[in-house]
């Protein structure tokens, strides 16, 4: 029953989302026709003057807007605004839905046990010094130590099964980046000498994997970048 309801809710939200997108895409197109701000006004002027003109653009936008019947646009804009609010709420809920969906790893990996046995992060995540990605440990890495059982734990038994079947462990990703962000471990670790804990906290001391995807917010990135006085340009991270 729950799934059925969710299905309908999903369909409905997608419908609302798509319509609002289309409307929103349509409106600025029409607006730009009215505003006519694409006509560069400086063609007849000499270069020096035109440069000045560009520095303080005075576009007669308001005037034209009034002239072209504003009321109608107010209505559309208001409808869009509230429509937008509704979709915002719904998309928020969608995000929330993902949040509670949980994250179950194929085996309850214990970072702490490994760290206590004197292992470094780079022993398993082998790529982060030379590559953008940190490197998901492959079965080969695991079987380097676990070819024979070392302990008694449940997770090792699961691991041995994977090793026996020569089947890569389908680890699930804990940290996810938004699609427009380019993150490189090499840049932070090899070039910037940032320690793993700076971003990943004490996940190395955790005894079981987190039940939810962890988030590194842009705020956190920016804070660190400001503190360390490194490039805060959008282009440095946004691809």
């Amino acid at each position: 029953m729950k799934g059925f309801l969710w299905g309908w809710f999903d369909k409905l939200t997608r419908l609302v989302l798509n319509t609002s997108r289309k409307l929103a895409g349509f409106l600025p197109l029409r607006l730009s026709c009215f505003l006519r701000i694409h006509q560069a006004p400086a063609i007849s002027l000499s270069p020096e003057k035109s440069t000045k003109l560009y520095k303080t653009p005075s576009l007669p936008v308001g005037v034209q807007l009034k002239r072209s019947g504003v009321g109608q646009y107010n209505l559309i804009a208001l409808i869009l605004f509230f429509g937008g609010l509704i979709t915002l709420t719904i998309s928020g809920m969608l995000l929330f839905r993902q949040g509670i969906s949980g994250l179950e790893q194929p085996l309850p990996f214990n970072h702490r046990v490994h760290a206590e046995n004197g292992m470094e992060c780079s022993d398993c995540h082998q790529l982060y010094r030379e590559h953008p990605a940190s490197g998901k440990p492959t079965l080969e890495v695991c079987s380097g130590c676990h070819s024979e059982p070392i302990g008694q734990s449940q997770s090792e038994k699961l691991l041995l099964k994977y090793i026996l079947n020569r089947e890569e462990i389908p680890w699930k990703r804990i940290y996810r980046l938004p699609p427009d962000v380019y993150f490189s471990h090499r840049r932070h670790v090899a070039a910037g000498k940032v320690g793993c804990q700076a971003c990943h906290g004490n996940i190395g001391q955790s005894s079981s994997p987190p039940s939810q995807p962890l988030k590194i917010s842009m705020k956190k990135c920016m804070k660190c970048h400001e503190q360390e006085k490194v490039d805060n340009d959008c282009l440095a991270c946004h691809r």
């Binding site: 937008g84 969608l94 995000l95 998901k136 699609p179």
Partner: protein, 773 residues
């Protein structure tokens, strides 16, 4: 309620805010974000050979994990030096193409209406092997025909070997350059293409040759063009009916009537002769039939000198070619006085019935100024010292089969084989993995032809209309998925071998053609298997490469400075081995991308002239040279002459599976996917046709709808339509229905005729009612 602009923007911004946000919702992240799929994103660069055209440029392929994401030119490759053309760049779309065939396909339920069924390789190979064995045992080995383009890859040599050992003489390669090759065999005694030394030449007189865009070596030529242009060291004169891309880059464009290039060359020759600007020394030593000569019956035949001087009048040439007298004389003086100067001919001359004659005239110009086997002239390419193939052991069946005439015996010297009227029945047709020139077999009579052939097997990797009448497809892989060994294209001066190892594993169930042939030979067994002792094509390639190690010259690809040093050393007779053993050498070979010997010794004349006389033989004409070509239709009904031309980088095939490449082809006419017809603005004004109007172009044989483009680059009575322009991706028959220029060609049942009339066709043009796009 009044709202200011700023408030309004805020509102709009508020309203649109959720929309990028919505893009980030969970569902989209997994779909959009390549980064979030937990691939390690390991970047590697793998050198290989480009197979997008027969040019075989060196590539560096950027791989992320197991995906090919980008190709760049291999900076060490002596021909393209890190550069690559648009066609090569679009190569990733050949690899990851939605129309790729995923497994061997068998047509079930009749050829026409039948459906494809995926079968295993085991089954597919058994079907083919048993059929081939059956044909061979019943004495019909010769009736197996292979149809493919010319190539310089191992696959091409393996095919030839396979057919010879099997006993079929029908190794048919469709080659656009045949008219020029024929001219070479008449003048120099060998039909191999000669190389043009662009690097050292100062003046190019090009007769309708698309050397910058449509040659296999075009990337190299473009590189040289770029280097020379900055130093103003190269002058280019382009003689051509239409203002092509090459003409637009030339210093001077000389418009000419289609098919009259040879006549103009003769006119130029006559000026050179009259003004005594020719190379007497060369002609005395290395030319024959320049002066009048006597044939076996003792008759006196006029030599080239008499032909050019006495048999034609310059005024007639000027009138017939529409090139002003002054221009002819100017070009002749410039051409003969700037050394070294090249007169270029290419496959475009064979788009006219007088192709061979035109090519002969252009070659004669080069001989006249003695620019053969000299730096900056025409030179014979030197083959790389690859280890020769194992000697073939032919059995009685093979020998008997090879003695049979080829199915294209009668048309051997022309462009297309007359498959529609073979001397004996074809029992099995093998179609090459590469698409053929002229988009064969998109031709209308392909259906008819195919009905007479009981079994048609294709190696095409893409499922499109080419496979329409095919019974069985054994999908080849693309060049990213196989071991490669390619010698330099025949137009190149470079003694060079490019190699590559598979960049990715074969996608789906496709298999390299080379491996298919080897396993077929093994399945047929007996002497066939004995002639193919290799396990796979990798072994073949490594075996052949050993010859380079033993040759004690050249080196694996080096940077240009290192190569220069090597050249100096080698020219003085030194050569130092860089590798201790063969394994090291092979490893380095694949790491750098190939092998190159930078030294080219000119003046080994015996190699250049391969005829018994060891000379350049001028043609002599006994007939009237200013010959009218037969009109295709009446001038009153069809007032315009049509000029069909190949778009840049499409001479061998259209590159249909690469939308990135196809959409750029019409950039000069602002057309991405539409077929256009070029009309002189004056003509258009007369016909009341405006830019972008939809028009019909009609020949006696068919009609085509196109978009009118006003273009002052052709004479008022000429219309031009591009060939090889696809109208959609994936290319399909439906989209091509009303816009296929090949429909304008006569469907006379003879495929060869289609080629030679491409620029000799009369048409009319009229507006589509209410048609403005």
């Amino acid at each position: 309620m009044a709202i200011k602009r700023r408030d309004f923007l805020k509102l709009v911004a508020g309203a649109t805010l959720p929309w990028p946000l919505a893009d980030c919702s969970s569902r989209n992240i997994s779909r959009m974000n390549l980064q979030s799929s937990w691939e390690p994103r390991l970047e590697t660069w793998v050198p290989t050979v480009c197979g997008a055209c027969p040019g075989n440029c060196g590539l560096l392929v950027r791989k992320i994990d197991n995906r090919v994401v980008k190709v760049e030119g291999n900076p060490l490759h002596p021909s393209n030096r890190g550069k690559i053309c648009g066609r090569g760049q679009a190569g990733v779309q050949l690899l990851y193409n939605p129309t790729r065939i995923k497994a061997p396909l068998l047509k079930v339920g009749g050829r026409r209406a039948g459906k494809w069924r995926e079968i295993s390789w085991e089954e597919a190979l058994s079907i083919v092997a048993s059929k081939l064995t059956e044909l061979r045992n019943s004495g019909k080995a010769h009736s197996v025909v292979y149809l493919g383009p010319e190539g310089h890859q191992v696959a091409d040599e393996l095919i030839s070997r396979f057919l010879r050992v099997y006993g079929s003489p029908n190794d048919i390669r469709i080659d656009l350059w045949k008219a020029l090759k024929q001219a070479y065999s008449l003048t120099l005694g060998s039909s191999d293409l000669m190389a043009f030394d662009f690097e050292n030449c100062k003046y190019i007189l090009s007769f309708s040759s698309q050397f910058l865009t449509n040659w296999p070596t075009s990337v190299e030529i473009q590189r040289i063009y770029g280097e020379k242009r900055s130093k103003a060291e190269l002058k280019i004169v382009q003689v051509e009916p239409r203002f092509s891309l090459c003409a637009s880059r030339a210093d001077r464009w000389v418009p000419i009537r289609p098919g009259k290039e040879g006549l103009l060359a003769l006119g130029i020759a006559s000026v050179i002769l009259k003004e005594q600007l020719y190379d007497k020394n060369y002609l005395d030593r290395f030319a024959a039939r320049f002066e009048d000569w006597f044939n076996e019956q003792g008759e006196k035949i006029p030599g080239f000198k008499t032909t050019a001087l006495n048999l034609i009048r310059l005024e007639d040439v000027s009138e017939e070619t529409a090139v002003p007298l002054k221009t002819i004389i100017e070009i002749a003086r410039e051409f003969a006085s700037t050394r070294p100067a090249l007169a270029l001919a290419d496959y475009n001359l064979s788009y006219h019935p007088q192709g061979v004659f035109n090519s002969l005239c252009v070659l004669a110009l080069n001989a006249l100024i003695g620019n053969i086997d000299l730096p900056g002239g025409i030179a014979r390419p030197r083959p790389a010292p690859l280890r020769p193939w194992l000697t073939e052991n032919l059995d009685a069946i093979a020998e008997k089969g090879l003695r049979m005439p080829r199915v294209d015996e009668e048309a051997k010297d022309w462009l297309m084989p007359p498959l529609d009227n073979p001397p004996y029945e074809i029992d099995c047709l093998l179609i090459s993995p590469q698409p053929l020139p002229g988009n064969f077999p998109f031709l209308e009579n392909w259906e008819e032809i195919s009905q007479k052939i009981p079994l048609i097997i294709s190696f095409q990797p893409y499922l499109d209309e080419r496979n329409e009448h095919v019974d069985l497809i054994l999908p080849d892989t693309t060049y990213f998925e196989k071991w490669q060994l390619a010698t330099s294209p025949s137009l190149s001066m470079k003694t060079m071998v490019s190699v590559g190892m598979p960049v990715v594993k074969p996608l789906y169930q496709s298999r390299p053609l080379e491996d298919i042939l080897i396993s077929l030979a093994k399945k047929i067994g007996g002497l066939m298997a004995a002639n193919f002792p290799w396990e796979n094509h990798q072994e073949v390639i490594i075996d052949r490469l050993a010859g380079l190690f033993e040759a004690e010259r050249g080196a694996v690809f080096l940077s240009s400075q290192e190569e220069f040093q090597l050249k100096i050393l080698e020219e003085r007779g030194w050569w130092l081995s860089q590798h201790k053993n063969l394994d090291d050498f092979i490893a380095d070979l694949f790491k750098s991308g190939g092998w190159h010997d930078p030294v080219y010794h000119f003046q080994i004349r015996s190699n250049t002239y391969q005829n018994p006389q060891r000379r350049f033989i001028f043609f002599s004409a006994s007939e009237n040279l200013i010959k009218q070509t037969e009109p295709q239709a009446s001038e009153s009904d069809y007032p315009f002459q049509l000029f069909l031309y190949d778009l840049p980088f499409t001479s061998n095939n259209s590159g249909a599976p690469m939308p990135f490449f196809q959409e750029t082809l019409g950039f000069r006419f602002n057309s991405e996917w539409r077929i256009w017809v070029e009309i002189n603005p004056e003509t258009a004004k007369e016909l009341k046709i405006k830019e972008n109007d939809l028009v019909w172009v009609e020949s006696p044989y068919g009609k085509v709808m196109a978009v009118a483009k006003l273009f002052p680059g052709l004479e008022p009575w000429l219309l031009a339509i591009p060939l090889n322009k696809e109208t959609a991706f994936p290319a399909n028959k439906e989209s091509r229905k009303i816009s296929d220029p090949l429909a304008l060609l006569p469907n006379s049942g003879s495929i060869q005729k289609n080629f030679s009339v491409r620029q000799n066709l009369r048409v009319r043009i009229y507006k589509e009612k209410g048609g403005t796009s």
